[in-house]
Amino acid sequence: MIYETDTDKVLVWDGSAWYPPKNTAWGILGKHELAYAFATSSPHTTFQDEGLSVSVSYGPNRLLKATLLVRPYTNGGTNFVIYRLMRGSTAVTIWGFGYPDISNSEAPHKTIVYTFAGPATAGTETFKVQIAGTPNNTQVTSYGQPTTNDGPRQLMIEDVGPA
């Protein structure tokens, strides 16, 4: 076990690399926050990067948790808003929102939490959020505003322990 005086990290050699103790949660790995909105362009039914994106380094065989705070809105008309979380080119999970939750002339906040097993080998990849409308080809929006208004949208990736 070592203590790095410049980073204040306590790390353990597992035989091939230095990691925090593997029997504990490692906490936040990365986050991203945006204070502006993203609106889809046609074809709205195709997933499009909505801007939330963070590069994360993870350990081998770890349980990861994604938390997403968003404000979806069907500004193009009656529709559903679909969010997709990507790890690199791999889809992690999908969330959907529709009537009556988001059709009250409002863009209410939604928080989604999803826990999933990371890869068996350590790596660094970009997690990003995509959005699409379905089933209608009408515009949907992922809102974000400054904290002085209705607040930003956020993406957070945490390590919650061994998988």
Binding site: T24, W26, I28, E33, E106, P108, V113, T147
Partner: protein, 183 residues
């Protein structure tokens, strides 16, 4: 076979084992101790004892309430959902708000904020529904760049009507503050 296999623990030097009142008087940077009265493992960073800096430190505090509360068009504190703690520079904090049983009027919006102790808004969340069906309002928010004594509390108001946050022992409101790691 180690020395500890032959000698009872009372005969061995136990480096780093102390109590919260008998910590080393002249610690060195990187020194690790275990406090037998608190079961804490702490590391000296050159100026103070902390849990492992690169790990989350977990729950800081929470507020709960089991009594129902009317939410009106005037902003007011949500009962008991307030936490005050001493924030450490360089750490990130996660707030979780959980209002499990909101009984709304149709076509109404509840605006829920997290503020400091002086009611300055840190983030705002909107919850709306076209029906009068009950729903759960929950959200998570991150904040960093805090230090010293910090208060965060939950406040709420309605846009056009009065509604009730129904609470009982099976549906208790919660405001949770967690340390999730270094910023």
């Amino acid at each position: 076979v180690g020395l500890s296999n032959y000698l009872p623990s009372s005969r061995l030097i136990q480096p780093g084992v102390c109590t919260s009142s008998t910590r080393p008087a002249s610690p060195f940077e990187g020194q690790v101790i275990y406090e037998t009265d608190t079961d804490k493992v702490l590391v000296y960073n050159g100026s103070a004892w902390y849990a492992n800096w690169n790990l989350p430190w977990g729950i800081i505090g929470k507020g709960t309430n089991t009594s129902s509360q009317q939410i009106t068009t005037s902003t007011a504190d949500v009962t008991n959902l307030s936490v005050t703690w001493t924030a450490v520079t360089g750490r990130q904090y996660k707030y979780t708000v959980f209002l499990p049983n909101v009984n709304p009027a149709a076509n109404s919006t509840m605006i829920v904020t997290i503020t400091d102790g002086s009611n300055t808004v840190k983030t705002t969340n909107r919850f709306s529904n076209e029906t009068s069906f009950r729903y759960t309002a929950t959200y998570v928010f991150l904040e960093a760049s805090l230090s010293g004594s910090v208060t965060r509390k939950v406040r709420a108001y309605m846009d056009n009507s009065t509604q009730t946050i129904n609470n009982d022992s099976d549906a208790t409101t919660l405001f949770l503050v967690e340390d999730i790691g270094p910023s």
